[in-house]
Every structure is written in structure tokens, then in C-alpha cells.
Homo-oligomer: 335 residues x 4
């Protein structure tokens, strides 16, 4: 596969050189698991980033981050309200059911794969308060959403307030949180305000194999540590995961990379504004493209996923080649 | 921590340069998950190594490897026979219970944390064949054992035959399989013969974050792939795990590293033969050492774990420093 | 509560005298669990009823019957296709997630809470065949459905054939199977043809505390027996459950009771044909009734559940009092 | 089987006439599940019995009672300390693993299948306080034990205090609690003092299909109610279970029956004092009996279980026939 022409996903992009450097620097011997000096720096790094106390664990994948978070928030007999197209529902192979021991995802709709106050209220209103129906104990939102849509600070605040009002915890799946913050241009906390726990993604943004699970309710982190071990996710050379995460957040690389990916997506969007299925806010571009049009683009060497019968999904990454992006933009414009 | 004087564990040692090189070479873009060219090479590499068809998955930790293996072998309502001091029983934070959905570890005794035919037969003989008692469906052995003891080929064959006779699958926890094979000097298959699945360790042997789960019953591997995703262990940049494993096995690095670690352990053992709690076969040395003696060694800069009140565990690694090993050997000899 | 005016549910009705008699007759000492003579007769009784070999277990509740069935049919990482309003989805408190260890209910729509071939095909067509999406391994249908609708023999055959074509097992939730067969007037097997396992309800039909789990794939029954014990559902005096079931099926009491309940429902339906939300086939009557109309009926002493804002659900039972049924029918007709 | 000669178990004995009467009286219609008037009386009945506030649930089996209790007390990643021969470990088909989602039974020894302070302290002392080892959060004791031994009030107090000191909850498996209290002659609370929850057995003591789960920490009962439904144990005609329990406890039938069973056991014990493996305190008698001696007794028509190669277990029940008991006592005495 020729990297330059690849718009399939950001999830297999190359690792950023500064991440590599940090990993190499971590090779010196350290205590195992998460007692090394790098792992010990995570809490402070994220407390700085978010301007409030955080307790942070590394894990290897977004699925593990999300599902450990959910398992920490809710007991097996309860439910989690999320969008019908949330990643935890559609693309995690049933991992939420595994980690939570069978808790139920309570699915609601919403434009752009985002949920809102009315949707949450309606879902809860439809549930009888008895032992025959599963009672939700958390809400999970995705920032940016499966369609690359971002919750604005006021939207996030409204969701958080609604969750709080119903006595529910709030999980934010931030596999592309960097892209959301880069788009919103706001303080990172405002993009996830009210969250009990945030899955802070790195792998899609220039990392190799580390995501950060950020607990704003620090008391829950110890429980997550126990469950991380129980899930086989406590790596003995955890310093290499901590190194990746610190490289991303301590010097702003996470936003730098996200801005580059977002800019490439904007360039593609600008060339195809009348084809957009969703406004482009992060690094995903959903375009109406007929089978013939997709075929034409592929013949020119571009790769991407079909999205149903008449559309395609293009994903840019931190290292999307400007020449290729420009070429694809022109190719779309001239279809 | 000064690496040279560290005999705490092999689990946090540095990553071997050839592993680093392989990882860097894997940075070029590839399809995600395990559809990259490196991951696709694993089956062949291990089929060569073991002289028979294998289906191989990478996972990040030994706990995940072991517990995915067990969950693939046995249903939730069944049991797994293992030694009372097996890692899956004592040090995996209940992960077997999590992965298998509550299957029972049926614990038996045996010298050196090894089990044998008589032990398996006795355990099975004590279980009524009814629904009130949990019925075993697998046996798990550790090669090398928690005390660094190895199953000789004839011992492994006897265990495998006993398992087969009772209709049980066989799992081999090979977190230190390399050390066992280096000690036994036999064909690798003979060291795990009869296994349904082998957890083939790399992390303790110069790897960073990859273990290989080797299915000799290839039909089970697809089930393990589904469960790996469900456990959040399917990394999108899996090529970096495959690269580590291939670096270990394709050119014999796994045995080279294990021989170095074993040799260092032998040097320590030779200096303390009258203190040994267990014969030294792999890279772990269990020594009778009084609190005062341990204190004396620590004052000289050596680090290691206490083993109960009157003993210590010393673990060597692929990169144990010869000078430090020699110094420690002399220090013990002159206590 | 005055029984005669009660149309809330059939699930708390009195126990039929012949069931009581059978239980008293079972009081003589017998071996425990399901090794008593009555439990041993279940297989033959249902093999007679269905004209094919069956293996049958008693359990205490419909939820346990359904969920033991599902857990026997599918592994934890898989899914079960069912209607969005199926009892297993809406009213079993998450028990399917508990029993199956987190398998996913894949929800589809369909008129009258019934599903059909097109719905199953569409659901399966929408699932990518990869490890990221949960793959179904069974279909569950309810006969009669949550809205008292019955699958005709040809409809059941079509569902079964569709399941078979996709390699899926078929579960039939027959909490009101008797009412369905009474309505259809067909051979019992035709009302569940192609099922792998049937939850055969007794409690709503004059029983006290026993449902029959009927395996047409007899090889699965032993697995269900192990799981029944593991779920704490193996009663030591199981003869009293077997007695209830035999009293229902050996002399046709199950159909006799169901016909009585269905006839009462028909009488109500006949008095309110223009108000019916669903055709009345079994013993449930869903009527458009305004809040004022419901209030008026309740003032006359009738009890029933609201069904949303503008409707009510009336359920008849084996012992619905003809006088009360007639009175209610007239009261509705004269609203 | 001729009841009179049966000493196999108390678990399949006939149902006491007063229990039958109470069930018949409960046949009048009532609201479903546990909202009927009888179920609503349980809390008060047990609060009277124990002289302190209780919240009480019925369930159908002792296994369900024990395992619901454990699942309410401890999270999946934790452990429960119990005797190596406790029923939850040896005879519940892995139900504790199912209900608790894989929590670990941490097994300790103790004379007569009883545990004590030293055993609990030693078990906890051996567990490292890290995420690699499973941490206990509860203790479970059996009153009377698997060998029919009773915890005296001071022994129970010591166990409870030890549990409290370590921050552990306390579960008492009282499948034969009545027999224990009948033997001890103490206030019922003293026989389970300090318990968080008690499984109060009825089935072995003249009941049919109901055990009481008694929460002394009332706040936990609501959680148990949710889990009871999720486990398929919420019967719609729950009034028949409540009726059984009330018949046992409201007029002292539970102690009356237990005293009868205990007296029969004492008569057997008195005839064989030199053969006793354990002091006889409740209704189980473990006797050294050679194969020939057992054969001789069986030829006279007595039935009982072998207990290993050279012993037998005789269990008396509330309705053990005095003539048969006397005959068996004489037969043993004259062996």
C-alpha cells in the first residue's frame, strides 16, 4: 500500500518520530508495570492539561479503554445510554458485554451520531423503575462522534448536566478527542466537561499502542487498576506506553497532529462541499460517491472505505501527505 | 535503579536491539489489526519452529495469552487442572475467572510447581461425575515452572497422554518457554508436545509488548481471534507486535537470549549450591538466605525479591551483566 | 383484590386443582433433584406431545427457561436475533446478558412483535463478517408474541428455514405457547417447528412454579442440566415441578386451560372490535381506551394495566370468571 | 424407596402438613412477584425472630440463596474466604463463579469443616496487597457445617469480629441453620451474629421450594432483588414461597422440625459412639463403617451414602420414623 494515497483510516498510520524517540528513551531499566517513573508522571501531565486533578492509566487499545471505563462505572445488572452508532455498540466485538459482565447498552438516536438531553430524557422516561427492566447508571458519548461531529462546550455541558440530574455517570469516548479539541479550539476540559472518565486516544493520532484512561473522579482509578490487571492489560514494560502518552501531551504534539489531520480533511471537504453527508469537523469526510465515482478514484490510486452503496468515508491522519490530499481534492472536484 | 545489579525480574529488562530494529522496520503503513504482512507471517514462522501446522495470534501480555487460551479451551461451567502455585492461580489477578466467565481452577500439588500423571489422575478421581461438581476440561502446565523447573520431554509426554486419556485439552504456559528449551536442548515441540495451545513468551526474553499464542489445534485460533477482540486486545497497529515476535523466532534470537539468561543463573547457582531451594534449570535461582544475609547483599547494591522469611529469588535476564553476575556470585559465596 | 374483576395478568392466577392434586401425590419420598420418577417421565410426555424425541428439564420461571435456553445455544461472544419488543429484551432484567455472559440481543422490528424472514435477512446482511461486529448464532421468537399474535405454521416454518439457512439455532419463547396452539388449532409441533429448544410455559396457564424447557436437539439438554445447577435452579424436591408439568400435558389440561383463556379474550375483543390495537389471537387484548374511559372501567371494579397513554392491556386467564368477562365486555361496549 | 428406612439426605423429605396448608391458603389471587401480602410479611417475621431489622427475599434453592448473597457482597474481581469443604466450593456446580462473575473462593482448612480466626488471619496474611493477587472482601461460614458441626456463639462472634477487623463482609450459609440453633439452644441471632446476610434454609427442614435470604444490612436487599430477577429467580407466584417460609418461622415449626431431626441423629450417635468421625451436633452422623458393615445394613433395608471407603453418612430429617431410627441404631450397635 502506498501510504500517500491511503485514506482508509488513521488507525494504522505511522508512529510519530517524537513518539519513537520517547520510547527509545524509556528503554533504560525501570520497575515493572506502572511503578516506573514515566507512568508515575501521567497523573500530573493530565492534571495540567485539564486544569483539575486526574488519575490516569495507560491501556493498549481504545476498546480496552472504553470498556474498562464502563466496567468501572456501572455494575453488571445496569445499563449505559449511548448512541445507536456508537463505537462501543457497533465495532467493539461485544467487549462492553464482556467487561461489564453483561450490562446493557441502551441505544438512542441523534443527528451525526451525537446524543442530546432530549434523547437521554426520553430513554429514561421509557424505562419502568422496577427490577424487570434494566436501569441505566451511565451515559457514554463520543467526542468526536462516529461521523466526525463534535460536541460544542455548551452541548457537552448539557449532556453532563442531564446525566447528573438522573444520577448517571458520564463516559467520554475520545478516540479522536484531539481532533475534537483541535476543531473546537477550546480548553480541553470544556470538550469533555462533566465526564467521570475520558478515553483519551493516542493510537489514531501518531501513537503506537497506548491510550490514556483519564479519571476525573480519581477514586475510581484504583478500581480500574484492579480490573486492568484482571483483563490482562497490565503490561510489565508499561513504561513504553507511558512514554508514548507523555510524548503526545507534554509538549502539545497531540494537538499539532490533530490539527494537521483536520486541515487535510477540510481541504477534501472544501473540494466536495455539495457531496458531504455530514459537516466536516474532525478528520473524517463522508461523501456521496456513486460506485462509478469511487471506482474512478480508486483507479487513480486512492484507497478508502465504501460507506453503504452510494457513499465513501475518507479519513485523514497526522501524516496525510499534502500532495496526495491536494490530488484527491482535485480528483473529487473534477468527478 | 542500576540495571547491572538488578535481579528482581526479567519482566522489565530492556528490549533487545534486534527487536527495536524490527519494530522500526514495521513503521511503514500496513493494513490494520492482524491483516498486515508481518502478522500474516506468524503462522509460517511457528509452523517451521515446531515442525507442524500452527495458527498464531499476538497479544500484549502473558496474562492475556494464558487466559485467552483457557477461555478458548473450556466453557464457563467447567474446570482447569493446574498446580496450586501456577501463575494463573496466584498472580494473574483473577484473570482466568474473568476470561473464562467463572471456570474453576482445580488445584493440585507437585514438586517444583510441576504436576504429573498421578496428580491429575487423583484430582479427577476425587470428582463425582455429576452436575454438583465442576468437571475439568483442560490441564494447564507451566514450562518452565514457577520455580524454574522444566518438564523433560518424557514428563511432558506423560502429562499430555494423561490429559488425552481423560478427554482434556492441554495448555502450556510458556512465559519462559525459551529458557526451558534452552535448558532441555531438545526440539521445541518435545518441550510442549501434546499441547493444544502454547503461550509462547517474548516479553521476559528481550521483547517489549508481544507474546505469541500458538494453537496446534488450528481450528481454535479463529475463536481466539474473536475473543481477543472482545477482550480489547486487538491492536490496530498489530504489525509492531508481530515484528517483535518474528524478530525473536525467525533467526533464533529467542534461544540466544534464553541461553544467556540461563548461563547467568547457572553461575549464581554454582556459587551457592548448598543454598538452593530448587535445582536451577532456567533463569530463576531460589536461595536460602537469612534476613541478615539478604541485607548484606543489598548493601552491596544487589536487588532481588524476598521469598518468604528465609529465602530470596534471583532472576537473570537476556542482558544480565556478566560483571554484576560474577560479583553477585562471589558475594553469595563469601557470605 | 377481587379475583373475578382482575385482568392485569395471567401470571398470578390461581393454581389449577389438578395441578394441586398432582403435587400432593408427589409428596411421597423420592430421590432428589431430577432423578425422581416424575422428572424421569418428562421426556416421554413431551416426545408424545410433539411426535418426536425430546429431552426436557423443569425450571421455576420463564426467565430462567428462556435464558438457560439461550446460554445453551450461543457462546458469550455471539448474538441472538429477536424482536425489539421481545420479553427477553424488555422484561427480563438483563437475565439474557447474565446467563449468556454478555451475548448481544440483535433487535429487529416486525408487526405485532413478530419477526419474519425479511427482517432476519436484513439484520444479518447489515453485519460485517469480522471480529469487530457481533455475529448472531441464534434466533429467538415468541409464540404467542408480546402482543398476543401467533406465528402460523407456515410463518414458523419460514423463520426456521431462514435461521437454518444462516446457520442459526432457533429458540421459541412459549410462555403462552398453549394459547398459541389453542388458537392455531394445529399439531403442537407445527407451532414451533424447526425449534432447537422451546420454553414451554405452565405458570401463566394454571401452574404454580414450573416451566418446561424442551430440547428437540436432545444432545443439548445435558449442557442445560449443568447450567441449570450452576444457576441455582436445580431444586432438590424437583418432583413437585415435574408433577405440575405432567399434570398440564399428560391429559390435555394445558390446551383446556388455554382455550378457556382465549375464549374469554375473544369475548372481550368481540365487544370492542373497533378499539383493537392488535388482532386478538391468544389471551391478551390491547384496546384504545382514553384515560377517562379507563377510569370509568376501574370505577366499576375492573383492574388492568395501562398501555401507554391511550390504551390498556387486558389479560384473561384459565379461570377468568365468565360473569366478570361478560360484565367487562358490556362495560366496554357501552363506553 | 421406603421412606422409613431412608437416611440418604434430608433434602428430599416430604413437605410438612403445615407448609402444605399455608400454600393452599395462599392460592387466592394476589399481586405478582413479591408484592403480595405474604411476601410483604417476611421482613417483620424475621425481624421478630432475630430481634433486629432484617430485609428478606425468598429464593427457590440454597445454591441460589448462597450465590445471590455472595454476588451482593463482593465484586467480580474479589475473593471470598471459606472452608475447603464448604458447600459453595464443593457442591454448587460452580454457581459462585457464575453469580459473582468469577470471584475467587479462597480456601482454608479447619476442623469439622469450620473455620476460625487463625485461619482467616493466615489466609489474608499470605496475600500480597497488589493487583496481581485477588483480595478477599467477604468470609462465608456454614452453620451447621458440612460435617454437622455448629459454631458456638463465641466462635461465631470471633469469626465475625475477625471479618470486621479485616473489612470483610460475612455470609452465613444456613442450609441447616435450624438444626444448629436447635442444638445450640441459643437465641437465633447468637448463632449467626455479625452476619451481613444469612441463607436461612427451609427445604431440608420440611419446606418444599423456598429458602429465605436474610439481610441484616438491609440496604443490600434491594441490590439482591435486582440480581434475583436477573438470575431468573423472581417467581410470579412468589406468594407460594413466602407462605412456606412464614409457616416455618411464624409459629416455631422450624425449630420443632429441627429438634426432631437432631434427636434422631442423637439416637443413632448414641448407638455408635466409638464409630463417630465427628461429634454429632445437628442431623448428620458420620460413622466408620467397613464395606461389609455397610452391606449388612443395606441388606436390612437401610439406605445412606458411602463416605469414602470406610465410612458412611446418615442424615435424619424432620420426619425420620422413630421405629426405623431405633431399628437402625440397634443394627449398628450389633454389627
Amino acid at each position: 500500500m502506498h501510504r500517500a494515497m491511503q485514506f482508509l483510516s488513521d488507525n494504522a498510520a505511522s508512529v510519530h518520530p517524537r513518539v519513537w524517540d520517547a520510547m527509545r528513551a524509556a528503554d533504560a531499566p525501570q520497575p515493572p508495570y506502572d511503578s516506573d517513573a514515566l507512568s508515575q508522571r501521567l497523573d500530573a501531565a493530565f492534571s495540567d492539561l485539564f486544569g483539575r486533578p486526574c488519575a490516569v492509566l495507560w491501556v493498549a487499545t481504545g476498546t480496552a479503554a472504553n470498556c474498562l471505563a464502563l466496567a468501572t462505572l456501572v455494575p453488571p445488572h445496569s445499563g449505559v445510554i449511548c448512541h445507536r452508532e456508537a463505537h462501543i455498540e457497533t465495532d467493539e466485538g461485544g467487549a462492553p458485554g464482556f467487561y461489564t459482565h453483561g450490562a446493557k447498552l441502551i441505544l438512542i438516536d441523534g443527528d451525526g451520531a451525537k446524543i442530546d438531553t432530549a434523547g437521554i430524557d426520553a430513554a429514561i422516561g421509557a424505562i419502568r423503575k422496577d427490577v424487570h427492566q434494566v436501569q441505566p447508571q451511565a451515559v457514554s458519548v463520543t467526542q468526536a462522534s462516529e461521523y466526525g461531529r463534535c460536541y460544542r462546550p455548551d452541548e457537552m455541558a448539557a449532556v453532563a448536566e442531564t446525566a447528573r440530574r438522573h444520577g448517571l455517570k458520564l463516559h467520554v469516548d475520545g478516540a479522536r478527542f484531539a481532533n475534537a479539541v483541535a476543531h473546537l479550539g477550546c480548553d480541553p476540559w470544556l470538550a469533555c466537561q462533566g465526564a467521570t472518565v475520558l478515553s483519551f486516544g493516542c493510537v489514531k493520532n501518531g501513537g503506537m499502542s497506548a491510550e490514556a484512561l483519564v479519571f476525573f473522579d480519581e477514586g475510581l482509578a484504583d478500581l480500574a487498576r484492579v480490573r486492568r490487571k484482571r483483563a490482562g492489560h497490565l503490561q510489565s514494560k508499561g513504561r513504553f506506553l507511558a512514554a508514548q502518552i507523555l510524548a503526545m501531551v507534554e509538549d502539545g504534539l497531540w494537538l499539532e497532529n490533530a490539527r494537521a489531520a483536520n486541515a487535510a480533511a477540510q481541504e477534501l471537504a472544501g473540494a466536495a462541499s455539495e457531496r458531504l453527508l455530514h459537516p466536516v469537523e474532525a478528520n473524517e469526510v463522508f461523501l456521496r460517491l456513486s460506485p462509478n465515482e469511487r471506482e474512478a478514484l480508486r483507479k487513480q490510486g486512492f484507497s478508502f472505505y465504501d460507506w453503504g452503496d452510494d457513499a465513501a468515508r475518507l479519513v485523514t491522519a497526522w501524516n496525510s501527505d499534502p500532495t496526495a490530499v491536494g490530488a484527491l481534492a482535485r480528483a473529487i472536484a473534477t468527478l
